[in-house]
Subunit: 544 residues, 2 copies
């Protein structure tokens, strides 16, 4: 992964002349590009790790398992949120771990945690490092030093139970590697977050991640059947079970624990047959409300696609404009502009949805027919397979685009929530409005767009993307103002502060409002028990 | 509810001459029936509640909200487990609450909890009182006195969100009353535990209950969208959400909290349309293993019935013998004995399954066709609708039968677990063998039977029923020996100590083995935070 941004260093940019013109006209771009500084120019604090602590850590994991070099410290200095990248590119990360430690097995992991307790070292569990909420920020919080505990060596396939469809893997296993391991058995996990190419599965569980196909495959919480948490106070092992009524849901406590209770070093996940059939397509609705009704009925009437994403009118227009020049844009544009049957409806209200169906061909055909029936019943029109193919091709590309925009001085950020169907349209307006007003008030009017995804019988998620010209020198203040406005609007409108990005540092104040004093007290009590010295991922989830 | 047993006092017995003969021949019955003692003969300890405490409680809930009469104390003295009934019928309950307190709203509930903290009163939350694991046993645990906190007045429908399909109700709402409230809107909760006629929904959530149709509708944990827990330390309110990634799963912590953290006084539940089509039928497999394979594939191949129950060979034979004389037995018997196509297979190996499909007619037809295809693919034969009708008629009747057997000096008890598909057959043999050996070793050889139900993609539940002659005067020792043997076999075989009966008092030692020291420590830490004085349902979930 690029130390200053996303993904493959060889990845070519995707912005064409039309998109650049649109950006220039709508939010404005810098006249001079702002590339990231050189790695050597990144400011790093001197390491605070004592000789004794380093020797002790090396004694556990070997010399190669303790890294203090610039590259490792910088690549573990931040996640992949907007502010992380702004700071990294400028060469001014908020902080950096004093060392990166790589235990190779459970015994080493336990010993490292014991050593960190003894030496008063804060521990930031680090999987793929893709957090967008400050979840891997190396905060010292008064401890003598801080290490990034990288799980990448804990990546074995421990067991595959084909009959029960459960795979047990090390917490550091990367999602693409697991799919490669499952493919020969004809199986798939089906967990495809946008960060798929880099995430670890322990990280997915710790952050309560949901993949793009969660409507069909379920979010990670549904996949986890058992797990082991290595905490400073010991190990909490929950064997793989389809279900249990043995007390409060301890599995669900570890899922979403974000490294503040310990490290998920092993987990058992439900897998499914790799789909024999995959059908992705686009449909268009006259307006957002019609699309919402159709999606709700799919979720409530046995017609749920595995992937369902309804763009609001703004995202529809934006994706039309940014679709690139690979031919899809032209076909889509013609369909969009030429669609008949909407009477007096304005083009500007139209909303595109991507529907993806996976599974055995007969089952897919049945479900798809039902879903498309609901599309038609709500005035929707089919756009054929090309929007689906285009979406599949581009599904992991947005973070690359963000890097390009940052070079142009353009802020791009996403945030998300979920709520009940009855509140969804109101919440959409309220949050989009709050973002829009905050950007305008700061003199950087932006483009605010949203899609509905992750459908449930009782509600769905809203995923907002906004773009604006950066306030040079005040990037953090600009971002914080929008974040605050959007988060306040989410809570006021009955949404959750996060459906699948987790809490991290950014959402902590709103988590506290969402679960209340007693909810916070419950989390603190758990933390005190499992992490008595408070060394695990300090400053995350709870504000202090 | 009968104070000494189950249900409607007017309910007539169901054992016919053939069943009586079978019981006599197989396990033996007492020559003299043993009816329960009269209510007036039940031994009750004098109330320990101080005048001051009584006055304080009356000041909160009114004079009618504090009951100290014999009937209320006896009906709140025990749940409906085997030992509960043995003791009640003998007029020797283990203990009884000093008073039954009935708060009528949230403010009264809060005030009662504050009063109990002040006056050092243990509080046993009491919904339908149907616990079969000692979950409502009035244990004093060193406190000055113990009250049963009956939630029956907290039973309002607070809100019905038809679009989101969420109903919000008081925790004391009874399951049948909720169905009556939902019916005019064409909706159903679809939660049908065997105790359906009496359970409260707060109680279902607190005990992590699963209904008979959980394969289709999900267990209660899947239905709960939000809730409020009133704890001594305050209120924990989690708004109704389809999903959230805001930290550890606090909803899942309250689900399954069994009254030890507080009282679930309000909850929001996912509801569904009342099914337009309901098809229940019987099928027969050549042996248990074939039935298991068919059920597994149903769960893994989009062919899951809403109700699926596969009896093992012993339960099949027993239900044939006990089916009663309503005509079903005769037809079933002929089908059972006359079925062709099993070649050399013995009659004694055959296993009957009940499959129930609910929903819209087209969807049901599709799913049912797929499921029956899998039945045929595993050598199963259709037995038609009459076994399904018979099962539906009798689905809530087993507890009545237990009362009859107790009068005859016959012990009948059930216990359950869940595990992965790959372990299910082994666990079935191990647990059935352990129960059988324990009964035989005690000189009371029994009938041990089991069914598989509550199907998931990764595994299922095993539900054991066993019958034996009571050891007169040593009923508790007899039961404890079997319970210990079965529970040890469950844990050793990779099962959970309970899939849907909860932990209560009976399963506490095995919960501790299942979740380990750190799991227990986590639960204790939560309890200390939410219930600092330790007044909430002492002695439950954790052994001390």
């Amino acid at each position: 992964m690029r130390w200053w941004g996303w993904g493959d260093p060889q990845h070519a940019g995707g912005l064409d002349a039309g998109a650049l013109r649109l950006l220039g006209e709508s939010v404005g771009v810098d006249s001079e590009p702002r590339p990231p500084v050189a790695l050597g120019a990144v400011g790093l604090p001197p390491t605070c790790l004592s000789e004794r602590a380093i020797a002790a850590l090396r004694g556990i994991v070997g010399a190669g398992g303790v890294r203090e070099d610039r590259y490792e410290r910088v690549t573990h200095a931040a996640g992949r949120g907007y502010l992380d990248l702004v700071r990294l590119r400028a060469g001014t990360p908020a902080d950096a771990p004093d060392a990166v430690v790589l235990p190779a097995d459970r015994a080493q992991l336990r010993a490292v945690l014991e050593c960190c307790t003894r030496e008063d070292l804060a521990v930031v569990p680090f999987g793929g490092g893709t957090s967008v909420v400050g979840g891997v920020q190396p905060l010292r919080d008064g401890h003598a030093a801080v290490i990034a505990l990288d799980t990448r060596r804990l990546s074995a396939v421990v067991a595959l139970d084909r009959e029960s469809r459960i795979v047990t893997v090390g917490g550091g296993m990367r999602a693409p590697e697991l799919e490669r391991c499952l493919a020969p058995a004809g199986l798939t996990l089906g967990h495809w977050p946008q960060s798929f190419e880099y995430v670890s599965l322990g990280g997915c569980a710790a952050t309560r991640s949901a993949g793009q196909a969660s409507s069909g495959y379920g979010a990670i919480a549904r996949m986890v059947q058992g797990m082991r948490l290595s905490a400073p106070a010991g190990e909490l092992t929950l064997p793989a079970m389809p279900a249990t009524a043995a007390g409060p849901g301890l599995r669900e406590l570890i899922v979403g624990s974000e490294g503040v209770l310990g490290v998920i070093d092993e987990l058992s996940l439900r897998v499914r047959p790799a789909p024999a059939e995959r059908t992705y397509e686009g449909v268009m609705f006259g307006d957002f409300a019609a699309g919402l009704q159709a999606l709700r009925k799919m979720a409530q009437q046995h017609a749920l696609p595995d992937v369902a994403r309804l763009s609001d009118a703004a995202e529809t227009r934006l994706s039309m404009a940014l679709a690139g020049s690979d031919g899809v844009k032209g076909r889509l544009g013609r369909a969009y502009l030429g669609a008949r049957g909407y009477g007096q409806r304005r083009h500007e209200d139209r909303c595109i949805a991507i529907l993806g169906f996976e599974g055995d061909p007969v089952e897919v055909a049945t479900r798809r027919a039902r879903a498309l029936g609901l599309v038609r019943a709500h005035g929707g029109l089919g756009l054929g397979a090309s929007p689906g193919r285009a979406w599949l091709r581009g599904r992991f590309k947005a973070p690359y685009l963000r890097d390009e925009l940052l070079t142009l001085g353009v802020m791009v950020e996403t945030l998300e929530t979920a709520t009940r169907w009855s509140e969804l349209e109101r919440l959409h307006s309220a949050v989009a409005g709050a973002i829009d007003r905050s950007l305008t008030d700061q003199g950087t009017p932006g483009l605010v767009s949203c899609h509905v995804s992750h459908l449930y019988e009782t509600g769905a998620s809203l995923y907002f993307t906004f773009i604006a010209h950066q306030r040079r020198g005040a990037e953090a203040e600009q971002w914080q103002a929008v974040k605050r406005a959007a988060s306040d609007a989410i809570l006021a409108g009955g949404g959750t502060i996060t459906h699948h990005h987790a809490v991290g540092r950014d959402h902590a104040p709103w988590l506290e409002r969402e679960v209340g004093d007693l909810g916070v007290a419950a989390i603190r009590a758990l933390k005190s028990e499992l992490d008595p010295a408070g060394i695990m991922n300090p400053g995350k989830m709870l504000s202090c």
